[in-house]
């Protein structure tokens, strides 16, 4: 992999510094990607009829 190439894998970005090939720095940071959301993640409808008479 040549210097200066950034790799992205599973939301991580790894970058090789090109300033000094003798002192290459490896840096890593995490990108905050929004995970997909579905209506099922947001809502849960509950029937409470079955609870009647319990108390």
């Amino acid at each position: 992999m040549p210097y200066g190439t950034a790799c992205k894998s599973s939301g991580r970005v790894i970058t090789l510094s090109t300033l000094d090939p003798q002192h290459t720095e490896l840096s890593e940071h995490t990108e905050h990607e929004d995970p997909p959301v579905s209506a099922e993640d947001l809502l849960e409808e509950v029937s409470i009829d079955g609870m009647c008479g319990v108390y």
């Binding site: 929004d34 947001l42 409808e45 509950v46 409470i48």
Partner: protein
């Protein structure tokens, strides 16, 4: 729905929970868990917005998530948790 005005039904109570909120409808006795604080804020903000689109914009939610939130709102509408606001003549 995006261009329509909606609000929380007056028959619904929202109780804050660590995961979001619990919505209870005193008329039809339905119970719904709102499982994200963002959805709770959106539902609460509906009444202050001219339409759902404005409420979504104000929420700061990523546009990619809007369809899921709109679907959730449609499901809340189907059980009268939220009601469409009649347009003034």
């Amino acid at each position: 729905m995006l261009d329509e005005a909606w609000q929380l039904s007056p028959q619904v109570a929202l109780r804050p929970e660590p995961f979001g909120a619990l919505a209870y409808h005193f008329g039809n006795r339905r119970l719904t868990f709102l499982r994200r604080p963002e959805l709770v804020a959106l539902v609460r903000g509906l009444g202050d917005s001219r339409d759902v689109r404005a409420a979504l914009e104000a929420s700061g939610l990523p546009a990619a998530h809007w369809p899921a939130y709109e679907t959730a709102l449609r499901r809340l509408a189907a059980t009268d948790m939220i009601r469409r606001v009649a347009k003034e003549p």
